[in-house]
Point group: C2
Chain length 418, copies 2
């Protein structure tokens, strides 16, 4: 049996319901020098443990990096580097690949000089150094962080060709930190204290207003991500974690928390991070990130290269309001939907991984995914969003993404009417 005839046989078996019959070549019929001969790397001693005190990815994975879109923002210090979602799997984003977005470049904070102040409407204004913070009880939680501008270029139609660029302003890591509630209790919030201002120690002095209710609910003052200290571009040594809410509020290099009795209306919550509606009015305070999903494989940067037959479609979904119990996928632009298979742990306000295994007949595909969150909310189409919000928005685009896949397996960012 030749390679081809076996593959066809296996595809036939799969279609008849035999399940996972996809691959591997029968060996007797196809002697493979990669197996019958000893591979080169088995013929010499490899490098020892002295090589890498802090390990790095394989030399064959140098294409797996964060990438930016040079024209997207004014300059490098105010730009964004996107997570290569199409190269990842599971739900953990490795720290080195977490997207980064700065407004004044990466602050180089000396941890010995780090201080966090709590002031304003409190009984006792307090200053904490890093060690002070580490003497409070800690929690460990996995949460996604999504920039409000993720998919923002897509409001006016398909723009960027790759899920790294359309959806890569998100990462999902395990945080270790102190509940903000404990620090506020330590300072003693006065009765009138209903808002707080979080301020960063970078050159932009990023500031955002956060309602006290959220601060006391599930915010963390975090110093570790995926086990190790925060990365510089993620706010080393301390950032605010505001689960489920837009990333800009997760103030990095956290320097100060002021308690007040009303929001501050600073630049990043008025001029920016608001939603401009068709009538010219802007909606403020769209904090919670609505349920969203995207197919990461196949996608424009990750075409189908193995030809027809069984294949694995994969993607991620998340919601700022809870978990993702269900994701639907369509292969035909929404005419028919099937429920995807969820795999891996499901946490509150965390990324979820889904798969759909199917037998590709080699004909063009129009791929979409649609997330359902634990509140019953269903991810809308882009057209549904535009109907209400027009095309002037920049932020909070959680519309359904479409990839068109042609007979060669090449995928492209396209719009379909809905």
């Amino acid at each position: 049996m030749t390679d081809t005839s076996r593959r066809n046989f296996l595809r036939g078996a799969a279609l008849a319901g035999a399940g996972a019959a996809v691959g591997g070549r029968a060996m007797a019929q196809t002697p493979d020098p990669a197996i019958t001969e000893l591979p080169p790397w088995q013929q010499y001693l490899g490098e020892g443990v002295d090589a890498a005190p802090y390990g790095m990815p394989s030399q064959y994975e140098t294409h797996v990096v964060r990438r930016n879109v040079p024209w997207l923002t004014a300059d490098a210090t105010s730009s964004v580097n996107f997570t290569p979602l199409h190269e990842l799997d599971g739900i953990i984003t490795p720290n080195g690949l977490c997207f980064e977005r700065h407004h004044g470049g990466v602050a180089e904070v000396d941890p010995a000089e780090y201080r966090l102040m709590i002031n304003g409407l409190v009984d006792t204004p307090l200053v904490f150094d890093l060690q002070d913070l580490m003497r409070f009880p800690r929690e460990n939680r996995i949460h996604f962080l999504e920039c409000a501008a993720n998919s923002g270029m897509e409001w006016r139609g398909a723009q960027l060709n790759g899920c790294q660029f359309t959806h890569g302003m998100i990462h999902n890591v395990m945080y270790t930190g102190v509940p903000l509630r404990l620090l506020l209790e330590e300072a003693g919030v006065k009765t009138a204290g209903t808002w707080l201002l979080a301020e960063g120690a970078d050159a932009s002095a990023m500031t955002r207003s956060i309602p006290m209710e959220k601060a006391l609910d599930d915010c963390l003052v975090a110093f570790k991500m995926n086990g190790e200290m925060l990365r510089p571009e993620q706010g080393y040594p301390v950032r605010l974690v505001v689960p489920g809410w837009e990333g800009n509020m997760w103030v990095k290099w956290l320097r100060r928390i002021e308690v007040g009795d009303q929001p501050w209306h600073h630049r990043e919550e008025t001029s920016k991070y608001t939603d401009l509606f068709p009538d010219g009015q802007a909606r403020r305070f769209t904090w919670e990130m609505d349920a969203k999903s995207v197919i990461t494989n196949p996608s424009p940067q990750a075409p189908i290269t193995h030809g027809p037959g069984r294949m694995v479609l994969s993607g991620v979904a998340w919601s700022g309001r809870g978990t993702i119990p269900r994701v639907d996928v369509t292969l035909d632009g929404g005419n028919s939907w099937v429920q995807a298979r969820m795999s891996g742990p499901s946490f509150d306000k965390s990324m979820h991984r889904f798969y759909h295994e199917f037998d590709w007949d080699g004909r063009p595909l129009l791929l979409q995914s649609r997330a359902h969150d634990s509140t019953g909310y269903v991810q809308p189409t882009k057209d549904m969003l535009r109907e209400i919000r027009g095309e002037n928005s920049i932020y909070h685009n959680n519309g359904i993404q479409t990839w068109a896949v042609n007979e060669q397996g090449v995928a492209e960012n396209v719009e379909v009417s809905s």
Copy 2:
């Protein structure tokens, strides 16, 4: 109120049951230049996103690395680099800090040339390339991997001064891979096939016998860890995941799986990875890693530097037989035990994080932790293990670890009789 008097006041408050009263200096009384003056990193634009396509830890964290013990094995290619457990938190080990142990150095496998063969007692011997494997349904699971020799030096008494060296042959990551069961089903295991041999493509051609029951239960043929491709030292591009079982069986650079009807009794399961008893007999096939725990902070590499008052004790626990619902800690060498606080997700055969917050009176401590697993098994003392197994063992030491902390907060590896 001075710094010192406030600290004493707060400690008093904590002792009286006021809870988390630990830190922060009242600001009005102690103006802090780090707060009253703008820090240097807020006065210039930081580096932009071009700086690091693949991000790295802060320049202030260069001490957080894997370390080896030069005299421990014959040479660098057969040595071990330990995870810095005392620098980590939560339950995820970042890929760059996962301990590594090789027997022929790191194989540099070209993924385009990678092949996995399944042969022996199967209906159809098969060869898979990397893309073939990725066309099977995948699973995502977090598991610990512990070397059987972890804590091995401690059989003869306290030896190595630091949990990185006594307990650092463990890591805990999220794996993405294909259930081995699916590949075996694809080849069709003959009725007589009750064992398999996993072989690595490194210079040592590492081989281990694994019973079919385990292979069909929960083994994965994994290609990703914490979202990205396996690191070279962890078996890039493919390793076997054998949840809960000793690390040596998790064959890296997985090249071949042979199905047979009995174990192979190769070197690494006879001369090595067996347990030598006092009567000279060796126990084979101690696969499951018994429940174990260690206090990571404070510990010899992580002394108490903040003086008396409230503090956070932290550690990790795991079991090859299930989850860890409970960890006890003692501050006085076992006279009295208290239940630690578990924090973070609890997965089957995964690392668990525990904390114990207490008020340190500045007197010496004898710290121990004791894990209970979901089967009811309780971690034994080292003396209990030695009573049965003597002191000739190298592997499978899951005895309770003791750190002695003196008045200055300095911690040391010690033995206490039990």
